[in-house]
Subunit: 499 residues, 2 copies
């Protein structure tokens, strides 16, 4: 058994090394690569993907995992070894369910669809994208057919992003959340708008960068185990548990992109850097799911970075760096940073309206997979829902149904993780405040080690050991629950807008 | 046959993708990686090296190459297909001669030796390094034993850097070169020294960088297919034929590191970028050998970048950027830049003394492999030879026998390529001047497309198709010959020092 365990760990280490290798190539492509290198980089990533797929589905790996199952069952079910065997066994089974020919066909279709999506968005013409979108969605249905035992077809897609999560659960969560968020947005809309004009003025890019660096250094981002670069689309990437890098975007005449983006990516990075050494090279480093990852990034961005205690500490420093804010009082700054304003573009949405963008997309995806919605009817469906949820109608497809890259890449099941991440962040936040009653005081003193220590202990160190629902249950005592997020939003905006 | 050719090219493409992948990881490690990532990066590079070794020695690859040999023999021997098959067949045979157990043992020994070399150099104490050096040299002898058919033991080592090159040839070349260089150095030493003090003063680092960028842009370095970053030890790396990156080092109070270093690395990069598209992903992109590569870097650095015509064009611009040079006349600048001064450190040596450093190392290596010199006697041997060749004796081991990293890494056979590169550069230069009689005029007008076009046509596009001696013969009509280099040095320094 020891021999087999050793052999398994070698195979998992090799697989993990190759996945991190692909991440380095991808990061370099987005951050450094000269344009001429694109085709060759595509070849390199293609070769790596093929080798990774071969190794991830190798019969010897499956045999080892099967042989070790009785051993795993004999252990404490929460022990590292039990989880390493079981999580990898599930990964293996999922990977072997999908025929290599499908993987190739899907890769080709999504490459084409991404091109036509780009053109369609540029010309704001859904018709250009429609045939490829239909193909991609048909392929998603074919993918679902490889998992005949799921309760709901959409479960097969969801599971790729949120292991163990069911469509039925997601429906219940969002059915409870939807009316409360709509009500809150309407209540806010009935009140006088706050002013955020001072956020839209020139801010020196180098000073912005340095301020962001200051903030995340205080958060506890370890520069010996990470770095920050510029990238047009900010992202975080793990090359192991000791090299987790972030990227950010600096806008010369708007503070939020750098400020909130840097804190957001730092939240992801702190998660990646916090995995226990035992998780290294086992396939279990990284996050429990996309939603749990998002709960970390959104927590540092919103629950910390858009909070009054945070700015009690950092605002004097920000005013020093940017004297143009000298006349803007803290209270006004805080309200402006938290302005609620229904808008067309998801990635620019505020905390109160963000989830509505997600719910719309989730409904589209489920309806498409259930066969209740046809791709051709998407623009109308989209615009009707936007009017219903946010009271605005996109003026064109580019600002409507064509705004996100996800579907063109075959990523269906992804969007809900953004909203679930928000819910989890607030659910954890209530628990953290119980465990650390002085949390607000620590934050307003610029101290984050209590918070980070809590997250490391309860969330980060486990990596992928637990499924998201299981992890949230273990930590908070209940499964993912929208109530804390609704409470959080209601309290925050009642104060800001005087509801 | 077509089927086998296709299959071979697929296998070679995969191998090439993996080698470039390792290069990306290595570049990132030297340029960007935070220190915490070192161990994991080591794992990733180790895994990649193992997979590359497996694929490079896979029996199916050998069988394909054997099966295709009669086909290769039926073709024009200089055709791409014939060379692709033959060069890869030689690579395969060499790789399979070396047992995997040896590769591992050697990797461990050199890792340890590099550590003890670092400590020894820091403490300037050869005794610390000696036992590990002895092990590394014994392993080199064991490596040689895997190639029992060589004429001279050192041939087995040389061939890894200079395919097809024989120790006998190298001995003849250097025996002819040695007395002439020694004579020249003595003649120079008898003349009044030139002044280079103006090169040793503060130069703004950003302006240095920008000037270097200007120069290599004029050389023809394509920024859409490359980039330049800072690194403590400058190097050039290929990620394909359309992404070849350089690094440079900027010293705040000495112009030469940036200036000559940038041109040197650009010379390497132009070679990598010039391979014909047919060489892509065949294992034949890149350079014919280390010496031919060095001939390109040294040509742009020295024959171009230290020449009077070059500075006739660039010096007014340099004076504009650095007004502290306003009072230094062009002639004085040119002489200072070409000052000959015997010194202890190879990498800081001028053109006239550089090859002496190499000859010393080459003699050490051959004597060690022939069993005529023991590692324990190295410091004395080194110091005696330094006195004989350059008239100076290192004050300590750090400035003597411990200065280079190569031997600790098991790189024996490498040094001669630096000197051979110098010789080839001058030999090509004579030929280029015959073919482009106006070359000096072009350079003094800041025009380099004639030179680059010639190099692309005669050298770059062939990649690794031809062995170095074969390539030099094809292009110049004779094998590697020291006479042009001696003529070049003698003419240049006669003018500068009034010999």
């Amino acid at each position: 058994m020891e021999e087999k365990k050793k052999l398994l760990k070698e195979k998992l280490a090799e697989l993990s090394d190759l996945i991190y290798t692909a991440a380095v190539l991808d990061w370099d492509q987005q951050v450094n690569m000269p344009s001429g290198g694109a085709e060759e980089r595509g070849n390199q990533l293609g070769t790596l993907a093929r080798i990774i797929q071969e190794k991830a589905t190798a019969p010897e790996l499956g045999k080892l995992l099967d042989d070790l199952l009785p051993y795993a069952d004999s252990l404490d079910p929460d022990s590292d070894d039990a989880r390493i065997i079981k999580v990898n066994r599930k990964d293996f089974e999922k990977a072997t369910h999908v025929p290599p020919a499908f993987v190739e066909k899907n890769a080709q279709a999504t490459t084409t669809a991404q091109q036509s999506w780009r053109e369609a968005r540029q010309k704001s013409d859904f018709a250009i994208f429609r045939p490829d979108l239909e193909k991609v969605m048909d392929l998603r249905k074919e993918y679902i057919s490889f998992f005949p035992s799921v309760d709901h077809p959409y479960d097969a897609l969801l599971d790729d992003f949120e292991p163990g999560m069911k469509t039925a659960d997601v429906k219940v969560i969002f059915a409870s959340l939807r009316p409360k968020q709509v009500e809150l947005i309407h209540a806010i809309a009935a009140k006088p708008q706050v002013d955020d004009s001072f956020l839209h003025q020139p801010f020196d890019e180098k000073k912005q960068w340095a301020f962001g660096v200051d903030v995340i250094t205080k958060f506890g981002y370890d520069w010996n185990r990470g770095r920050q670069d510029k990238a047009p689309h900010p992202f975080t990437t793990d090359f192991g548990v000791n090299d987790v890098r972030i990227t950010t975007r600096v806008t010369p005449d708007f503070l939020n992109s750098m400020l909130l983006g840097t804190m957001h990516e730092c939240g992801h990075a702190l998660y990646g850097l916090g995995a226990a050494p035992e998780m290294e090279r086992t396939g279990l480093a990284g996050g429990a799911s996309f939603a749990v990852h998002e709960s970390q990034s959104r927590m540092w961005e919103n629950l910390v970075g858009r909070s009054l205690p945070f700015w009690e500490h950092f605002y004097p420093r920000l005013q020093e760096v940017f004297p143009q804010l000298k006349e803007v009082k803290l209270d006004k700054f805080y309200k402006g940073l938290n302005m609620v304003q229904p808008s067309f573009i998801r990635v620019e949405a505020d905390e109160a309206t963000y989830n509505m963008h997600i719910m719309l997309r989730l409904e589209v995806e489920i309806a498409l997979m259930e066969g209740k919605l046809a791709a051709k009817d998407l623009p109308d469906y989209w615009n009707t829902k936007m009017q219903e949820y946010l009271g605005i109608t996109p003026p064109n497809d580019a600002k409507g149904v064509l705004q996100d890259v996800h579907w063109s890449g075959g990523m269906v099941g992804y969007f809900s993780t953004y909203a679930l991440g928000n819910l989890i962040s607030a659910q954890l936040w209530e628990k953290i405040n119980q465990d650390l009653p002085d949390l607000s005081g620590q934050i307003s003193a610029g101290k984050f080690d209590g918070l980070l220590g809590w997250l490391r202990e309860k969330i980060h160190r486990h990596g992928r050991k637990f499924e998201p629902q299981e992890l949230v249950q273990k930590v908070t005592g209940s499964k993912i629950d929208p109530a804390p997020y609704v409470r959080y939003l209601t309290k925050k905006y009642s104060e800001i807008y005087g509801l």
